[in-house]
């Protein structure tokens, strides 16, 4: 895997270096772009910083590896679901034996409109929290965690990027470590979507081929971003029912259980309130089952 990534990078850089060394003429740059050399320090038009949210790690303790990715000015990287086009930001973690890695938690993305549909991502620093759990038995020592971040950055063109950072984490055989609560971490944590049950009256149910999201909020607009997966496709949202602060949003889905390879599909998405990235957002997750709530498109 690492080799294929390396070889892809070599595809790009070897010919570049060869041409430069040979002193050959460079192809004409498109005249409609002002000329400026690419920053050799940021070939992927983004950079990452990695830290943890814990002072040290104790037995069975869950902490987060926090990856802050910052795209270059005028460039953007993508959410885990890029939307109509683009590529997801992904992570590969190498952790010491016994440590386990959970699902990365992405902050609320911006919605970018394009002719072919909306895309979702970040034009500024986004901090992704990756949960890591230590084993029950630890020694007093320092361990290393290697984090590789892979992304697609786009502007007028797109480039793939990749950066590997290694951090050291102290482990303690007996005592769990204190969580960092500095201003930066608190701000990043605040941007993470919350569970839907944290919303007043927040519920989600699946009836037939529609999921219904309900709750109460004064913030508008209210939007839902579904995450497409194999065997699941979202239909355009239906009209929301508003009654004072209460809302009910029907989201039609198109499940294909054969393609999904099972009788159950976990429908996942993000419920967004307001327009700012600091406005609240909630994770929506519900099971659609072929036998209990989905029969030829009709609910029971």
């Amino acid at each position: 895997m690492a080799n294929s990534r390396r070889s892809l990078q070599m595809f790009i850089f070897l010919p570049l270096m060869a041409a430069l060394c040979a002193g050959g003429p460079l192809p004409e740059a498109p005249s409609f772009f002002p000329e400026a050399p690419e920053d050799p320090e940021r070939p992927g038009h983004a950079a990452t910083e990695v830290r943890t949210d814990v002072g040290w790690v104790g037995p069975s303790q869950t902490f987060h590896v926090v990856v802050a990715i910052t795209p270059d000015s005028r460039w953007h990287v993508y959410w885990k679901n890029p939307g109509a086009s683009g590529g997801p930001t992904e992570f590969e973690l190498r952790v010491p034996e016994g440590f386990t890695v959970g699902e990365p938690q992405f902050p609320r993305p911006s919605i970018f409109r394009s002719d072919e549909g909306n895309t979702y991502g970040y034009g500024e620093t986004a901090a992704i929290f990756i949960p890591v759990t230590a084993p029950e038995i630890l020694r007093d020592e320092t361990v290393e965690i290697e984090v590789t971040t892979l992304w697609l950055a786009c502007n007028e063109n797109c480039v793939m990027g990749e950066q590997t950072k290694t951090i050291e984490v102290s482990t303690n055989a007996t005592m769990k470590g204190p969580m960092h609560k500095d201003l930066q971490l608190s701000k990043w944590e605040e941007a993470l979507p919350k569970p839907l049950d944290g919303l007043a009256g927040g519920t989600v149910t699946a009836i037939g081929s529609t999921i219904y999201i309900s709750g109460e909020s004064q913030l508008r607009p209210i939007r839902f971003i579904g995450i497409d997966q194999k065997g699941l496709h979202f239909e355009p949202n239906s009209e929301m029912i508003i009654d004072g602060d209460s809302f009910r949003l029907p989201v039609p889905v198109k499940p294909d259980f054969a393609a999904a390879g099972g009788d159950t599909i976990v429908v996942e998405g993000l419920l967004l309130f307001g327009r700012k990235n600091t406005d609240p957002s909630y994770v929506v997750r519900v099971e659609v089952n072929s036998t209990t709530n989905y029969h030829n498109g009709e609910g029971n």
């Binding site: 895997m1 294929s4 990534r5 892809l8 070599m10 595809f11 790009i12 850089f13 070897l14 010919p15 570049l16 060869a18 460079l26 192809p27 740059a29 498109p30 005249s31 409609f32 772009f33 002002p34 400026a36 050399p37 690419e38 000015s73 005028r74 460039w75 953007h76 109509a84 086009s85 683009g86 590529g87 997801p88 911006s110 919605i111 970018f112 409109r113 002719d115 072919e116 549909g117 909306n118 895309t119 991502g121 034009g123 786009c154 502007n155 007028e156 063109n157 797109c158 480039v159 793939m160 194999k230 065997g231 496709h233 355009p236 949202n237 294909d256 054969a258 393609a259 327009r275 990235n277």
Partner: protein
């Protein structure tokens, strides 16, 4: 049909697109937060595929109608997109071309380039050089004005469409599940899977997998292309086969 000589000259393969980025500062296209419109639906699987008439990199005209009775695979293509570089450079698509030849159904593979962020002649020439370096001969259809791409609602490069022998769209979406070409030429492709399902007389399932890749760099509405400076007109699609609607 395919002359897929997979002796990849990797260096040459990406020299053009990589070098072409030197001295380029992208336009200010900082995405602005926007209220999402309802996502436009892609053309529905099961419907007649939109007809087209497009010219390839060698000046030959291709219509969908002329391939009636054959399976047609369309790949939305942009050789400057890193995903296309990966899928072609890793050998995945060259291997797919070879694999498709081994199936009983005759398969026509057409790349379509709807990119309009460079002058049209440069776009055509760059794609042609890309395939020449790979020593692969397939048509790259020039859809500079984007009419065919918009008719198919092609969103990404690559974005794959498979049309059966009756002219019905039976699959649209991702090339494979390996967007970053980690598995190289060994990745399973949805295109081959679909052709095998057609061969076997089975239902095509899944008929849609979310496509990944760079956005298609369409000409802006009412414009011929962001890179157009030469006064030539783009070619729209017309004609076609079956009862499929032509590009709007």
């Amino acid at each position: 049909m395919f002359k897929a000589i997979v002796t990849l000259s990797i260096t040459a393969l990406v020299a053009t697109p990589a070098l072409a980025q030197i001295g380029v500062r992208p336009l200010d296209t900082t995405p602005k937060e926007s209220t999402p419109k309802e996502n436009k639906k892609t053309v529905e699987v099961g419907e007649q595929a939109p007809a087209f008439e497009l010219v390839d990199q060698n000046g030959k005209t291709h219509t969908l109608q002329e391939y009636e009775g054959k399976i047609v695979v369309l790949e939305w293509f942009n050789e400057t997109c890193p995903y296309c570089k990966g899928t072609w450079g890793s050998g995945l698509i060259p291997k797919l071309l070879t694999d498709l030849q081994e199936h009983k159904a005759e398969v026509v593979y057409l790349a379509v380039n709807s990119s309009a962020n460079r002058p049209e002649d440069k776009t055509v020439e760059s794609g042609k050089e890309f395939l020449e370096e790979l020593e692969i001969e397939i048509p790259i259809l020039n859809d500079y004005n984007g009419k065919v791409g918009r008719a198919y609602k092609a969103r990404t490069t690559p974005h794959m469409f498979v049309i059966d022998a009756e002219g019905t769209l039976v699959y649209q979406g991702a090339l494979s599940d390996d967007s970053r070409s980690k598995e190289g030429a060994e990745a399973d492709t949805h295109v081959l899977r679909v052709v095998m399902q057609i061969d076997a007389g089975e239902e095509v399932s899944p008929s849609y997998v979310q496509p990944w890749g760079c956005s298609v760099k369409y000409a802006r509405e009412g414009d011929r292309g962001r890179g157009a400076r030469d006064g030539k007109s783009g070619r729209g699609g017309k004609g076609g086969r079956g009862n499929g609607p032509g590009p709007k």
